[in-house]
Each structure stands twice: as C-alpha cells, then as structure tokens.
Amino acid sequence: MDFLYVFVFVIASLLGFEVINKVPPMLHTPLMSGSNAISGITVVAALICASGDGFIVQVMAFVAIVFAMINVVGGYMVTDRMLGAFKKRDK
C-alpha cells in the first residue's frame, strides 16, 4: 500500500516538470503566486486533524487551519489582482 503512494508521488513530480514549460516572463510572478496558493492544499491535512481527540490536538488543528487558509485565500486573491491588472490593460 505504501508503495502505491510513493509511486503516485514520483509520477506527480514528473507531471509537475512537464506542466511548466515555456512560461512568458510576464507570467512568472502570477504563476509563482498561483502555485503558492495551491501549496495551501495542506489545509486538507489540517482539516483531517480536526477529527482528532483532545484539547491539544484541536488547538494544533485550529492553528494549522488558520495558517493554511491564510495561504490559500491570500494567495488566490493576490494572484487574481495581478491577473486583473493585465486584463484591464487589454481593453
């Protein structure tokens, strides 16, 4: 079973290499900020933590959810704003 997860990890890494190729310089900043927001996916793990028992676990889950959500919401909003500036210019 563990092997399957490692397998998935390696294949997904290769996919990551493939997805990003030939990015125009203009999009470097938004792309970085966009993938930064995606790295907030750890919020999934933080939410699962909230199913644990005990006060300490709940406090840790809360802290982890807060930090991950700052990453997610802040990241997406900043990215949207940048891409919005490009859009405005196209008119």
Binding site: G16, P24, I38, A45, I65
Partner: protein
C-alpha cells in the same frame, strides 16, 4: 466519494497549465480556486468526526486574515507578500505532522515508536517538520529582506557553512531520536527540538542571500512548501495532498530554474551567494568623467525629443515611482513624442514584476515592449531614460568574460542620449562598474526615482507653459 479528490487534482493540473499562457491565465486561476474549494468540501464530507467548531473558527479566521492581507498589500510589495504566505503554508504542514504524533493510534500503545507505524510515515513525519519549519522561518527572512530591511548573518566566511552543516546534522540526529524513541515524554521533546533547530537553520540559510536574489529564493521556498505538503500527505496517507504537493514542488523547482536562467546565474551560485559582499563596494570609486544633471536639464532635453524609451528597474519599484513615470510618459506622448517602455525579463523585484506594476498604473499594453522586440530600436531613439536599473543595461555583459558576461541586456547605450536616474554610483547586484555611466552621451541624475521623475514632470510642465 474519493473520486472527488481525483476531480480536485485534475482541476489543479489544468489550472496550473493554463496559468502558463497569457490568454488563459485568468481562467486557470479560477479553475484552481474551484479545485481548492472542492478539495476542502470533499475532505470535510469524507472525514468522520471533525470538530465543526474548530473547523469553522479556523476557516473563518484564516480566510479573514488572508483576505485582509491580500487587500492591504500594494502591488510593489507583492513579492514579499507571496513569500510570507508561503511561510504560512509551510508552518501549517509542520503543525499537522506534529499533531498526528498525538493522534496516531499506534503511538498510544506502550513501547511503540514512530518506526513501528511504517517506514513511509517514519520518514515523512520528521521530513515534514524539517521542511515545513525551514520554509516557515526562511520565508519570513525573505519577507523582511525584500522589504528592504538589512539583516546580518552572525557568522562569516567558511564558518558560516560549518554552522549550517552542524545544524543540519543536529536536525538529522533529532529526527532519528524522534523516530526511535518509545517514550511518550521524549517523542514530543525530540519533535519540538527538531522544529526549533529547523527554524534556526531556515533563518541562517536565507540570511546571507542578496536582496536581488530573493525572488529566486521565494520561488525555491514555494517549491519547498509544496514538498512539505506532499510529505504531510504521506503522514496522513492522502493521495490528493501527495499529488498536488508534488506538483507544486516540482513546478516551483522548474520556475526557479527559469528565473535563474533569466539572471544568468546558477541555483547553487544564488544559494551560496553573499560571500563577496565586502569586495563589492570599492569598485564604485573608479568612475571618472561622470556628468551629473538635475531634473531641469532632463526636462530641456526631453523638450526637443521625438522618441523616448523608459527602462524601468528595481529602483523604480522600490521608490514606488510607477505612477509618476506613467504621468511623464503621458505628457510626452500628448506632445507628439513616441514613448515606450523596455522591459527586461528580470526587471523589478522578481521576474515579471515590472509588467504587473506598470499594468496596474494603467500604462497601455502597446507601450510595454519586451527586450527582444525593442533592442533594435534604441539606435533611432533620442532619449533612453533608465530608472533605477543597472546590471540589465551594463555593456560589460557583451564582453567574453566577467561576472555578467552573456547576460542578455537592453542596448540602451545605442540611444542618442541616455539619462540614468539612480541614487548613487553604487554597483548593482553583480557588483561591477557600469561603463555606460561614463559615456559622453550619458547624464546621471542622482536622486530617488520618484523624486527625480516628479521634478522632471514639474519642469516639463513649466517649459510648456
């Protein structure tokens, strides 16, 4: 239900892919937002027995803070913002790994160690804490450095590398201790110790890296936070987290590589940078025959010019002069001059930053020219105004050897007259002299970019009336 994870993963892949093209980037970001929403909803639907108070409070507080931070950040501060957000993600991953040490049912059994929970878990738990904490503290150091704060590394020269190596060794020892201990007392102690050592290492690793290289560092730390997420995915055995974390991890690595290439540096060179700090300053005194000018002289020069190209750089972003430069461009254009902006791929505080900045201050799209398209036109240009840029216009890059040899540059030196707005003669990041400043047809304006441009706008207006 688990197929919802697969759907979310696909949305992230499509989202990232579309973010790499100008035509589809906005849609791409939306798709990835939907993917995130789906991921959150499906994990809450799948996981039994979550404490809804914790979940709701966490989501509300986190989303609120995130929105507040995003709203209040000016475009000029975007790079450090991305850095700080990144650190938050890394920290969350580290906390999760630590919380699962308490949750794991195997560890509750007397005499069982982390090793007994399985090899993958035993490796990924300390790895998540280590990578997560390095990302966390490193990102905040990058945040402060990009914000212009001067932070000094407590160690110098080779000593620095020894300290880093020693700390890394301590981190490995703590990890082994964490994995092997069967004591319910030493498990949390070793874990917290590992977190602290990793945090200190994160600070020290990022401290010596030069401010101009910070974008590369942020990109790299972004990649780390993805890897930390994937490691956390191994801890909780969640394929969504593993796949998306790996995706961000490697795509971030590629982006880092692309940025390094644009700056003509190797990643290793960036990471080990900062060694030559002391040898940089003295070169600046070697300048002779510099022509200094004030805003009034520049205004007079512009009065008779038909074609003007602005070359914005790091200094423009730092001085937040993007609105003033657009005002000047508008005035000149109204008078019938042709005005353009030449954008070097690494201009600004991170690659592509200048495009975002100028777009937000309403510089029309057709005035922004990429380096390859505009380089041939400098010959027929009356005035090239370099605002806060240095290395990207240094003719030394055309020579066969030297620190920036081979770096693509803007051929500013071919314009009839060059105006360089720069606070001092201090060298750029490459730490070398720029012979452009000594040229017969080059005028230096030693002022802050905003101050200088405001002065020029005032004088140009006065001349017109």
């Amino acid at each position: 239900m688990y197929y919802l994870y697969l759907l979310a993963t696909l949305l992230f892949v499509i989202g990232i892919k579309q973010l790499t093209s100008v035509r589809t980037c906005q849609r791409g970001n939306r798709i990835s937002e939907v993917g995130m929403l789906l991921a959150i909803v499906s994990v809450l639907a799948i996981t039994a027995g979550v404490n809804w108070y914790t979940v709701m409070a966490g989501i509300l507080v986190g989303a609120g803070l995130g929105a507040l931070i995003a709203k209040r950040t000016p475009t000029t501060a975007m790079p450090e913002m991305v850095g700080a957000l990144n650190g938050c993600g890394g920290f969350a991953s580290a906390i999760v790994a630590m919380a699962f040490l308490i949750i794991d049912p195997v560890l509750k059994i007397e005499g069982k160690s982390l090793w007994d929970t399985g090899t993958v878990n035993a490796i990924s738990t300390p790895a998540t804490v280590f990578i997560g904490m390095v990302t966390f503290t490193g990102s905040f150091v990058a945040y402060y450095k990009l914000g212009g704060k001067k932070l000094v590394h407590p160690f110098h020269g080779m000593q620095r590398h020894y300290v880093h190596a020693a700390l890394a060794l301590v981190a490995i020892l703590c990890s082994v201790w964490e994995v092997m201990t069967t004591s319910s007392v030493w498990l949390p102690v070793s874990t917290v110790l590992l977190a602290i050592v990793s945090g200190v290492l994160g600070v020290l690793l990022i401290l010596p890296i030069g401010g101009a290289d910070m974008p590369v560092v942020i990109s790299l730390l972004n990649s780390y936070s993805g890897v930390a997420g994937a490691c956390a995915g191994f801890v909780i055995m969640n394929p969504l987290l593993i796949v998306v974390g790996a995706l961000v991890g490697t795509s971030g690595l590629i982006l880092t590589q692309i940025m390094c290439k644009a700056m003509n540096r190797s990643l290793l060179n960036v990471l080990l940078g900062g060694v030559s700090e002391e040898s940089v300053a003295k070169d600046a005194k070697e300048y002779k025959s510099i022509k200094s000018a004030g805003p009034d002289e520049v205004a007079m020069l512009l009065d008779g010019s038909q074609s003007v190209i602005f070359v914005p750089g790091y200094g423009l972003a730092v001085a937040q002069a993007q609105h003033v430069v657009r005002e000047l461009a508008d005035i000149l254009q109204k008078r019938g001059a042709s005005v353009r902006f030449a954008i070097h791929p690494v201009a600004g505080r991170m690659p592509g930053h200048m495009n975002v900045l100028l777009a937000e201050s309403d510089v029309p799209y057709d005035q922004l020219w990429e380096m390859d398209r505009i380089n041939g036109d400098f010959k027929q240009t009356d005035v090239a105004i370099v605002v806060g840029a240095n290395d990207v216009v240094n003719p030394a890059a055309r020579e066969a050897t030297g620190p920036i040899a081979g770096m693509p540059i803007l051929d500013v030196d071919q314009a009839r007259t060059i105006v360089v707005i720069k606070r001092t003669l201090a060298p750029g990041y490459a730490g070398i002299k720029n012979e452009l400043f000594e040229r017969e047809n080059c005028m230096m304006v030693f002022l802050d970019a905003k101050e200088a441009l405001e002065g020029i706008v005032k004088e140009v207006k006065a001349l017109a009336s």
